[in-house]
Structures are given as C-alpha cells and as structure tokens.
Amino acid sequence: MIKIIECLKKNQRVDEYKINLTQKESYQLFFVKGKLETTRRTNTCDKEVTVYVKHGEFKGDSSFIVYPSTTEGELDNLIETAVEKALLIENQSYELPEAGEGEYQVESNFSNYSLNEIAGIVANTVFKAEAEEGTALNSVEVFVNRNTITVANSLGVNKTQIKYSAMVEAIPTYNGKEESVELYQQYNFSTLDEAVITAEIEEKLREVKARYEAKKPENEITGSVILNKLELSELFSTLAYDLGYYRVYAKSNVYSKGDMLQKDLTGDAITITMKGEAEGNIASAKFDGDGMNLTDIKIIDEGKVINYFGSNRFGQYLGEKPTGSLGCLIVEPGTACPKCLSKAPYLEVVSMSGLQVDAYNDYIGGEVRLAYYNDGTTITPVTGISITGKLSEVLGNIRLAKEVAVHDRYIGPKKAILSGMKIF
C-alpha cells in the first residue's frame, strides 16, 4: 500500500484518493454422499484504488484494480488514466470521511482456530447430526473465510478490520420406497456453536422426511399462512433496502419518510432498526467501504417510515447524516405466543422456491415446496401448492412472534402469521 500511496501523492492532478484492500483467505471442503471430494484453499488480495478530481463545481472519481504484477510504471499510468476518466465525470461534490485510524476484529470465536480446524469441526458437526431413518446428506459444502479489510484515504482514514464467516450448504435427502426427495439449506454464521449447527441440520433432516410424506392437497385449502425466519428475512429486507439513500436519491424507492406501511393495522406494528453490529449477525462490521464509522438508525417505527440510511456520498446528496452502509437488519418481535401461532386452520411454510416480495406491484407469494397444514384436527405435510397475496394487506394484518431468531443478516421474529393470502 505504501507504493500505491507514493504514486498517488506523486500525481499533482489527484485531489483525493481512497484505497480498499481485502486479503481473502479461505478453506473449503466439499463432500459427496458423506465422502470428501474436494479440498480448496484460497489466498488472494483485492486492491482497488479510487482517485477523486475536483473540476469546476463537480467531483469526478474513477477506480482501478492493482494486481501483484502491476509495476510502478504501470501504476503511474493507471493513476493518470483514472484522472482523465474522473475529469469526465460530472457528479455533485461531496466530502470523503475524515481522519480515523484503528485496527479491529469483528466479534467471532473463529480467531481461536485455524481455518482448516474450523472447517474440520464444522464438517464433523454436520455429519454428527442424528438422521431419521432413510435420510442422508447427499452433498455438503463447508466454506470458512477470513477477510482482512483495510480502507485508507487521503484525509487520514486508515482502518483495518478482520471478519470471519462460514457457510454450510447441505442437501438433506430422504430415500423412500417410491421416490427420493431433497431440501436445500444454506446456513451462514460467524460464531462457531456446534449445538446450533447440529440442531439446524437435524431439523432439515426431519423436514426432508416430511417432504417425502407430503402430498398435494386434493381440495382447496384455506387459512392463515405462517412464515419462518428465512422468508421473514426476505420480506423485511425488501422493506428496509427500499429505504437506502441510493434508492431514494435514484427515485426508485416505493416508500418515503412519513409513509404508514401498515394501513388499517389489525396485527403487530413493524419496527425496524439497521445496525452496524449485532451479536451472531454475519453482516456485522466496524466500518464500511468508505471507512465510515457505522451509526445505528431506526428506519421504521410502529409501521411508519421515519428515516433512510446508507453511504456517505448519497447521504450527503440527500442532505441526510450518512450512517454508513449498515448490514444488520433488526426487526422487533411482536405479540404472537406459541398458542396464537397454532390456531387452526393455518399453513406453516417450511420451504419455498423463494418468497417473491414485489413492493412495486404490491405482491407477495411463491411456490411452496413443503408446508404443514393444520385443518383443526390433523397436521398434514403438503407440497405442490403456491401462495399469493397483496403485500399492503399482509403488512396490515401481520402478527409477529414473540420469539426471536437469527438468519444471516436478519434478527427478528422467528415466525409470523399472515392473513388473507390465497393458497392454491
């Protein structure tokens, strides 16, 4: 980085600069039907340089990538070319984040182990999960990553953070007499908790047996729809990311400050806070790609949009205080107790092809791969059905569970009850 900074300082036409370095180390294991097929290791470094040039009332910028093979002479040329490009860019001026130094580690217990040790522990834990008779894991992939991220700029920012993450993709399969069925699971985490991994896999192994037993309902079924954490993460992400500074500046947002998302509210009011860090959340970070410190902000309060959030540049364009790019999505739990969640008739969704949430068209729905239907007397696993509804209506009647769950960047109600959706 020193060589890059020297070259940048040498060029008189560079007004400001930013350097983003990400050292990526990864260890990966791939299993096929329980046997190790491939072992991978990566050891790479991304180096991106952005130059800023003030011209007239504008501030132009342009970025380029620096490779290990890039010589000092080539670096000088890259900088000069970037300056020429930045002079073509006529963007409204804004200020870069100022002075701030520090070395951080985002909370994780991964740092107690080497990457291959963690991968080995995770793999063993996955395969230790107690399988129902006839179930197996046909494919398991384990990724363990250690990213060392540095942001430096010409105004004195020089920050480094170490972030750990892991991903397990597991394909639980049930081999029955008549056919074989599977479910898909991708589980991301940044804290090693063997009990949680085992519980996640065991739950999926139980569910895949249910998928084998599931039938397409012969008659039309009706009732409320219960969504779980994965689908709720998708639903609330759609609401939250609509309120990002860039979306608002580009006028592509559907919701605006002051809007009530829950008209004719009969359910629980929705409150969403975007945070920089949260325990167990894989999006946790100490600063963003501009080197901005992260400021938590409540964006939806009791169903009302009260704030936007986002990066330095677009925050300034909107005349808002930049919060930094916040990744952790925190939704406050509601009032639905386990008894409320088991009030029949209901369809509890276990697995979907992907919940479709379209705020532009006021739509929510999708194909259900596995669900449990409780008609008041029996609970039956069902498949081959779809759900569809109006997003605005669903938001008005949604009942959020008291119990909280974590899924990737989402921390919020474990389940929610939606009324007025068509099951077909």
Partner: protein
C-alpha cells in the same frame, strides 16, 4: 487488445509449477484468467466509469491424487516455484480423519492438445469518453421521452476475456469479448412507481450502440402499461411464453436438473430418465458454449475441455446432460465442456452456458389465435431450480391477457409460474418458427456460484399454473 500479455508472460512459470506439483499428484492443471472489464453508467443525476464486476486476474490450480481433488487459488505465479509448489502441497494436507473418508478412485485424463482461439472484438475503436457521451446522450433522450420518467439510466458494459489453461499435456488459450447495454426507466403514473428495462448484448460494441437506442420507445410504452398492470387471478391457464420465458423454463425447469455433478450426488431426478420421454414430442432442447453466439460462448471451459453443442432433449426424449471434467470422469462419460467457475477463487461445477429450446413450425399468430382465454408471458425476473423433485418457480415481469385468440390491453404483473416439470414440458402443444436468445442475467447454483448465462428459444404454448 488481444490475448493478455501478462498471462502470456507466465507460461514458463506455470509449466514449471505443473512439473513440480506432478511429483506429488497424478493430475495437475493451472487455469490463468485475466478479464478486463469496464462499466459505464449514467443516470439523470450521476455518472460513473468503473471496473466491471467481472474484472479479475488470477490463477487456480487443480490437482488429483487419483481419488479426491485439491484446488488452490492465488493471485500470481512467480518467484521460487519449487517453494511455491511445496507451500501449496503443505497447505492442502488433510487431517487423518478426512483422509480416511474420501471418494473412490477417479483418474482424470489429460489428452494432448495445443491450440489458441480468438474471437475478434471492436473495443479498440471506442474510447471511454465516447462511450460515456453515448450514455449521457441516450439517457437525456430517454428521460425526455415522458414526463412520467422519474429517473433514466443507461449502462454499457464491456469485458475482454483471456484464459490460459496448462496441464502436462495441454496448452490452450482463448481471447474474446462481450459487450452489453441496458436502459432503465423509473416511471411513475397512475399512482404507481415501477422500474422497467430493455437490454442488448453482442460481441461488438458497434452492435450494442446501434441497437440500444432503438429500444427506448418500447421501454416507455411498456413502463406505461406496467403502471396499469393488475394482479393475476391465480389459476391454471393456456399460456404462450415469449422467448425470454421459454429460456427461463429451459434453464430452471430442466437445465439445472441435467447438470451432471448433480447425477454424481444423486441430486437429479433426470439421471433415471435418460432415454425416456420427459417432454412433448415436438420439444427439442440444447445447451452449449458452441451452440450459438451469446454471452456464454467460449472456446474451452475452465477444465480445459473444448466447448460443445449438447442435445439435451430430442423429440421429447432426454438424451444426455451437461458435465464438467470431474463429474464426467466419475460417471464414465465424455465431458461436454460445461465446467465453469464464478472466478479463479471458486470451484468448477457442471454449469449451463447458452440454453434454449429449438424452434418449431408454428406461427406465433396461430398460437395466440388458438387460445380462448389465457396469457402471453414476457421477460424473465427470476427462477429457482429443484433438480431432485422437479418443482419449478419461474417469475415473469408481466403477462398480457389473451381473449378469443387476441392479445388485449390487460396486463398483469408480476406473474409467478409454478408446477411440476414433466407436466409443464409434456403440455407443450405448439412451438413457434422464430428464435431469440438473450444473455443479460447471471445464474447461481443454489444461492451462490454466479456465472453469466444466456437462454431463450421460440414461443411455446403450454398449460401451467400462474399466480
């Protein structure tokens, strides 16, 4: 322009590394990738010239000891090569518990071949300044098309791919280009905001720059109609699929299910159906980097296997699937040139390239005339595969109602098409005599490993559940 000088300069060091690693492994290959990519984007308020998302320069080494595989990704191959080889070998050593539980014997073949491939582009004819001016001018024109446009966006992408594959017996290199353009309108009318787009792709910038502006009027008309679109009444309908949706069906309904690494894992129901009817007898489907010229057209794959043109379904019968080197070797079949990586930092899997249904003999107007009540579906939004159980979900941006054999002005959006793959494919009753393929999107395997793909075909008449 032309093949990467950097990769060219690395041939001797790569060969030395292969020779060093061969002392410990039965098979060793190195893939070097140098992709130069630029994205130029202009909207009503901002503009950018930045490195494209496909940009990368790096290497991945693949090794096998006759059983399990090993891979190592790194930025550069230089310096003390024997020491590098030793470091790679040491860093991939397995713990005893893993070593005792590996897959059975797999001997990768390494047939001799030395060849260079080039597909000429025209990127050197245009400066970034000229491309930025094109974007600014087009954006201004688009924004001026309607008072309802809140924001207009124009994006041009260009990428020049250089790949070098070296093993003990093979030395292949390829160089080709791909350019793309997209128009986006954020549009508000009838108390509704929508986002709509049109796109163009070609190996040359000249074609993209020529064709993209001609799509503005269509985009604005579409945006207006989308603000009037209503939700569809859920049900089972006669449907005509426009080429984009035909391609989505080919891709999601069947393409993922014939990726043969899924056969190895017993994750694909299609494995049991090779040689059987899986679709209507008028249905023919292909995939291949050499099947047509689009965004996923290359000369050899990331395993160093030459590109091919694979007939997946012939007259309704499943013929074969798509394989990478590892899955083909494990299954005892010939690799089809479908081994693809998201980047040198990711594993190679069996992946689709350009996937499509072949054209038929019906006229589109006759197909529409044959429907009393149904929908014609347009534009891919997204889809999700289910190779083991053959459930599908394909999401179209919009549909237009057909009543008494005529397209109406009644638009619906979005439209989620779902059901059981064989039911859908066997319901194909008419296939149009035209053909279109587009390659704007990326395809994931599960929810990761994103690669550029194209898909398309003719219009199909099917019966399917919409909601």
């Amino acid at each position: 322009m032309g093949f990467s000088k950097y990769l060219d300069s690395k041939r001797a060091e790569i060969k030395q590394l292969v020779a060093e690693l061969k002392k410990n492994y039965q098979y060793v290959s190195v893939l070097g990738v140098d992709i130069k990519a630029t994205d130029i984007q202009v909207d009503s308020n901002t503009s950018n010239i930045d490195p494209g998302s496909d940009m990368e320069c790096g290497f991945v080494i693949k090794m096998s000891n006759g059983r399990e595989f090993y891979e190592y990704s790194l930025d550069d191959i230089s310096g003390d090569i024997p020491a590098l080889a030793k470091n790679i070998t040491e860093s991939l050593k397995l713990e005893d518990s893993l070593k005792a539980n590996t897959i059975d014997e797999v001997i990768l073949t390494d047939e001799p071949l030395v060849k260079s491939f080039v597909r000429e582009g025209d990127f050197e004819k245009y400066t970034d300044k000229e491309l930025l001016e094109f974007c600014k001018e087009t954006c201004k024109t688009l924004a001026g098309k309607s008072e309802h446009i809140l924001n207009a966006m124009v994006r041009l992408g260009k990428m020049e791919v250089s790949k070098l594959f070296i093993s003990e017996n093979r030395e292949l290199d390829q160089n080709y280009t791909w350019a793309s353009g997209i128009l986006v309108a954020i549009y508000n009318e009838n108390e509704k905001t929508i986002q709509s787009f049109e796109s163009e792709g070609d190996p040359t910038l000249a074609a993209v720059l020529e064709k993209l502006p001609g799509k503005m009027d269509k985009l604005v008309k579409k945006a207006h109609m989308l603000t009037l679109a209503k939700p569809i009444e859920p049900g089972i309908y006669d449907v005509i699929t426009a080429p984009s949706i035909t391609g989505l069906i080919a891709h999601e309904a069947f393409g993922h299910g014939v990726e043969m690494d899924q056969f190895v894992k017993d994750r694909a129901l299609a494995k049991k159906y090779v040689g059987d009817y899986v679709a209507s007898p008028i249905c023919n489907m292909r995939d291949g980097a050499a099947s047509t010229l689009s965004v996923a057209s290359y000369f050899f794959d990331d395993d160093g296997v030459l590109a091919s043109d694979t007939q997946i379904i012939k007259d309704g019968i499943l013929v074969t699937g798509l394989s990478d080197l590892a899955s083909a070797t494990q299954l005892g079949t010939a690799p089809t040139g479908n081994g693809r990586r998201e980047s040198t930092r990711r594993k190679a899997y069996a992946r689709m390239t350009n996937t499509f249904f072949e054209k038929g003999t019906d006229k589109l107007e006759d197909m529409i005339k044959s429907i009393d009540h149904g929908y014609m579906l347009f534009e891919t939004n997204n889809g999700m595969e289910d190779p083991k159980n053959w459930a599908i979900q394909c999401v179209a941006e919009y549909g237009i109602e057909i009543v008494d054999g005529k397209l109406t002005d009644n638009w619906v959006s979005p439209v989620v098409m779902s059901g059981y793959v064989p039911d859908l494919l066997k319901s194909i009753s008419m296939v149009s005599d035209d053909f279109e393929i587009s390659g704007l999107g990326h395809c994931g395997k599960g929810y990761k490993e994103w690669v550029r793909v194209s898909d398309g075909g003719p219009a199909l008449k099917v019966k399917v559940k919409l909601g």
